[in-house]
């Protein structure tokens, strides 16, 4: 089940390969961040019909490297009211989970080095998906502590906002990931990828789970990363910069790095969970998983940039409404529907029609139940809105009277 690398026990070569893999994955993430920053700036410029960076390096492609270097040499500054230790730790707390999350992404196939076959994947634990949820859960600490440790008002507000946002959307993330686990019958990322293999796109989870879970997942993970249009954490107009306002120099660079690393990692995870990972047609009899994987990730990354260039930022209450009142019920319903269809048929009727119906009855029941649930929630939300509106109206009457 696990990585074939460990089939023959641990020896020096295995250790070396392991260390090599760690380094490679680390570099992949690091370099992709450098690339991503430029990719985004170029793409946004193109979408905005501007030039974008075009000075450093060929066509400006070394601009991000130059920016990074500049940041490293700036003075590291710390507010007096800051909590010294946590202020320093926070950027790393943000960076580490992102890098860790990438370690469970299968990049495609296996490779043989010195008689040792290993997967193109740093780690493949049987509970890989849980590891993903773990990292996304722990990632909140970075933002939260950075905002708090700055000892300043606006970063704290940004951090509190970010925490509420990330915790809220984590539920959707978990529920939609559960649908993937349901159809793949495994928590292991490599098994999930394998389950999506074959059947010309049909087996990709994005289609296999009726698309909606994917949509919800994509929204949730965007909010989780605090990417636009969910970037209220760093809403300049209100918070003058967000949780990392007081950071400068290399510490700020880590935040920047972590943000873009998260973008890349999460794109890779979307690819893995929903788009078959490295799955794709063979070229000339050769499996070229990593190539397909890269192409898919690039497309998703481009969509992220596109969204950023297009959509305006949400208001905070809209964000919470969307998360709690729309996405979570929807994700729950989709989970029930997918689960309903997963029930193994047990009917033994002779008639095909009867059997077909019986096979589907769980699914139909789940759909019906989901619709009922949604309708019920919808009604509840409307009632809640009505009550809130009447309260507001009540407040408003008071206010206007007073203003007179």
């Amino acid at each position: 089940m696990g990585d074939p690398l460990f089939n023959n026990g641990l020896n020096l070569a295995v250790w070396l390969i392991l260390i090599g893999k760690v380094l490679v994955v680390f570099l992949i993430v690091l370099l992709s961040v450098l690339f991503m920053v430029m990719y985004e700036r170029k793409a946004v410029a193109w979408l905005g019909v501007r030039y974008g960076p075009n000075r450093a390096g060929p066509n400006g492609w070394l601009q991000s490297l130059a920016d990074g270097t500049k940041l490293l040499f700036k003075e590291a500054f710390m507010p007096r009211a800051a909590d010294k230790v946590i202020y320093r730790i926070a950027p790393y707390l943000m960076l580490v989970p992102v890098f860790l999350a990438f370690s469970i992404v299968p990049l495609g196939g296996t490779i043989t080095i010195a008689h040792h076959t290993t997967r193109l994947q740093l780690a493949d634990p049987p509970w890989g998906i849980l590891f993903l949820l773990m990292t996304s859960g722990v990632a909140v600490y970075g933002v939260m502590l950075a905002g708090w440790a700055s000892g300043s008002k606006y970063p704290l507000l940004g951090a509190v906002r970010a925490t509420a946002q990330m915790v809220s959307y984590e539920a959707v993330l978990g529920l939609t990931t559960a649908t993937v686990v349901l159809v793949s019958h495994s928590l292991q990322t490599s098994a999930i990828v394998a389950a999506q293999h074959g059947g010309f796109l049909y087996k990709w989870n994005v289609i296999h789970t009726l698309f909606f879970p994917f949509a919800l997942f994509a929204i949730a993970i965007t909010a989780e990363m605090t990417r636009p249009p969910f970037d209220l954490v760093e809403a300049e107009e209100e918070l003058s910069g967000g949780y990392n306002l007081e950071y400068s120099s290399v510490d700020f660079a880590w935040f920047y790095l972590a943000e873009y690393a998260a973008l890349v990692t999460n794109s890779a995870i979307i690819t893995t969970l929903w788009f078959g990972g490295p799955d794709g047609p063979r070229i000339a009899g050769h499996s070229i998983g990593p190539v397909w994987f890269t192409i898919k990730v690039l497309i998703i990354l481009y969509i992220y940039v596109w969204i950023r260039a297009t959509l305006p930022r949400l208001r905070y209450d809209q964000l919470m409404d969307l998360g709690w009142k729309r996405l979570i019920p929807g994700a729950l319903a989709m989970l029930m529907i997918v689960a309903g269809f997963q029930v193994v048929p047990t009917s033994t009727s002779k008639s095909r029609i009867v059997r077909g119906f019986l096979d589907r009855e769980w699914g139909l029941a789940a759909i019906a139940a989901s619709f009922l649930l949604i309708a019920f929630l919808w009604r509840a939300i409307d009632v809640g809105h009505g009550a809130a509106a009447s309260d507001d109206a009540y407040d408003a009457t008071f206010t206007t009277e007073v203003d007179k």
Binding site: F6, G9, G137, W148, F398
Partner: protein, 211 residues
Amino acid sequence: MYAGFLASAASSGTDLANASAWAVFLVGAAMILTGAFGVILLRNPVHCALMLVITLFGIALEFIDQSADFLAAVQIIVYAGAIVILFLFVIMFLGVDRREAAGPEATKFQKPIALILGAVSLVEILILSQVDHWVSGAPSVAGRLDGPGENVQKLGQSIYTRYLLPFEMTAALLVIAVVAAVVLSRRQQPGASELRAADKEKLVVGPGGAE
């Protein structure tokens, strides 16, 4: 957590597996104790919460060391990812991240008695640890833990068959907790609940005479 992962994969060289198991246990124990002492000794609640996180990671390590993979993951997701975050959130939300009030204790002997009690309990536990028969229950009542199959699978099978009723009850408990939390922490609209629409119309608020 990779150490445990490695340890589980090592089939040859029992010494190595043995050593790694011990290593994981000791690292976990160190984390647990550090974190626990941190929680009870540090002054700042935020630091306490972070120390709690360290303890939780240590516990997760011990879980992995005892091949409870799923629980380790859930431990991190639920405890570190949700519960402690909630703690921190409340601390920051309320702004109680100051040092603890250093005023006199309400009751004089609270702290010394507590410390003595802790020490006494520790001694008692150590005495008890000299006893051999720690395990006296019937084995494999609810299902075998060893043997083929994933830990998650066995756990799930057990939960959804033998423990279905408790499981549903915990689900109900969670719903109740959510509702309770909403009710408890909702800001009261002044008078909105007492005043019906008809009453509101009767309300005449003169200029400047509001509230």
